[in-house]
């Protein structure tokens, strides 16, 4: 039985984990390797590192982070943020990441999905989608540039297109739910998960363990990602997993 995956997400800027992380007992909470190891021990099934560096130097530093994480971690990890070309993918994957996540670049130049999939295989290529409900559209609209710019794409249409072009997985963030801690957007997650044949990671809105249960059972997600509730120790990966297990969800 394939288990549902729980994936903590770490924001990395200029080689350091940022966005208020409250860990007790870690020497240096900003060190990506130390935090990755911590989540690995807690039972995280995968990790996502989001590179939010603004500068070229920051992005170069990210390659070193990837190398150090890969040297320590024996679970899969994905790197996203600022990956625009096959060259960018090569740099990150050769440093030891297992997957790269494409967002804005995939929308601006969908061919980059195919290039990556042809070169590394679909299983290395995650397409991240930021979506927000649009009354006029009667569905969710896809946004680029961290949610700043609207596109013409309806979310399930874009997800299907991305998979057709070679995406092996979809990382779906609900802009309406993100940061609200009121639960994943179940209707959105279900719509996308039912539309594509590849696994879908639900993201945005996790506030408690039962939200993960809903994402899997009602949202039909294959994995669920969260940042702040893990970082702020509102719950832990281990707690979420034991809750899910008690309710009959297959977890590792």
């Amino acid at each position: 039985m394939l288990t549902k995956r729980i994936i903590p997400c770490l924001d990395v800027k200029d080689g350091r984990v940022v966005k208020g992380i409250q860990f007790v007992g870690l020497r240096d909470a900003g060190d990506p390797v130390e935090l990755a190891t911590f989540y690995d021990r807690e039972g995280a099934d995968e990790l996502v590192f989001l590179d939010i560096s603004a500068s070229h130097e920051g992005r170069q530093t990210m390659v070193d982070v990837v190398r150090n994480v890969a040297a320590t971690l024996a679970i899969p990890f994905t790197v996203g943020g600022g990956i625009n070309s096959l060259e960018d993918m090569k740099r990150i994957l050769r440093a030891g990441a297992d997957k790269v996540s494409l967002n804005t670049a995939a929308l601006l130049n969908p061919e980059v999905i195919t290039e990556g999939a042809n070169y590394f295989g679909s299983q290395c290529i995650v397409v991240a989608i930021d979506a927000k409900y649009d009354e006029g559209l009667g569905s969710w609209r896809v946004f680029t540039h961290g949610g700043r710019n609207a596109t013409d794409w309806e979310v399930t249409a874009w997800a299907k297109e991305a998979v057709l072009r070679g995406a092996g997985e979809i990382l779906l963030t609900s802009m309406d739910s993100d940061g609200e801690k009121s639960g994943f957007n179940l209707a959105l997650t279900k719509a996308v998960s039912s539309a594509v044949s590849v696994p879908v990671i639900a993201s945005g809105g996790a506030g408690s363990a039962d939200h993960f249960y809903d994402a899997f059972e009602e949202g039909k997600a294959d994995a669920a990602l969260a940042a702040s509730i893990f970082h702020y120790k509102e719950t832990s990966v281990a707690e979420v997993k034991s809750y899910l297990k008690a309710r009959g969800v297959a977890v590792r």
């Binding site: 024996a74 899969p76 590394f120 295989g121 997985e169 590792r252």
Partner: protein, 205 residues
């Protein structure tokens, strides 16, 4: 010394990093003369079976790997690398494999299950093997869209269930394969890699 076969397909980096963590000496090479010096060979791989076999044929690494396996050198194929050990695959048209193990690579049957089979699935042991020493029947990390239909259950060491029985660890004599990624399967996977390394050292002594 472990030789990782570099034929230009896929992610050699995660498996080499795993060997580094284990302090196991290794090298990566695409040269037959260099690889011939290894005590055991690792055949990794992600991507398409058809493309991989084309490269192995063009570079004559296919013949070389067969000869090495026949000579008794331990060989471990990982993921696509395991599938390449078999007779053929139906991925992108029928392609002949290395034929070191008996069976064919086929697509998952249509069902409501997602393909690729991606994530952590539980091992179920089918027969004793040196690769399973100190390994618990626990979860390992899979990513694949095709699976092996074995010609004989004799080669099945461990399986997982994903709608069908997925051969997870296979082996016969000195030729082994894992459909999952041991280098990404936490301690369970590292133990399996360690067992392979021990087996290589045992053969060398």
């Amino acid at each position: 010394m472990i030789g990782i076969v570099d034929y230009g397909m896929g992610n050699l980096f995660s498996v080499s990093k795993a060997l580094e963590r284990m302090n196991v000496p290794y090298f990566i090479s695409s040269e037959q003369e260099t690889l011939a010096g290894a005590d055991g060979l690792l055949l990794p791989g992600v991507g398409s079976f058809h493309d991989a076999m084309n490269i192995l044929q063009e570079t004559r690494l296919a013949q070389f790997l067969k000869a090495q396996a026949v000579s008794g050198k331990p060989l471990l194929g990982i993921c696509l690398g395991m599938q390449l050990l078999f007779d053929s695959s139906e991925e992108n048209g029928k392609t002949a494999g290395l034929g070191l193990l008996k069976g064919n690579v086929v697509k998952f049957p249509d069902s409501n299950l997602k393909v690729p089979h991606m994530g952590w699935n539980k091992l179920r042991f089918q027969q004793a093997s040196p690769l399973l020493t100190n390994v618990p029947e626990e979860f390992v990390y899979f990513v694949h869209s095709y699976y092996v239909k074995l010609a004989s259950e004799d080669t099945l060491i461990a399986s997982s269930n994903y709608g069908v029985t997925v051969p997870a660890v296979v082996g016969e004599g000195n030729v082994f394969g894992t459909q999952f990624h041991p280098e990404k399967s936490s301690e369970v996977g590292i133990t399996i890699l360690q067992n392979f390394v021990q087996l290589v050292e045992g053969v060398r002594v």
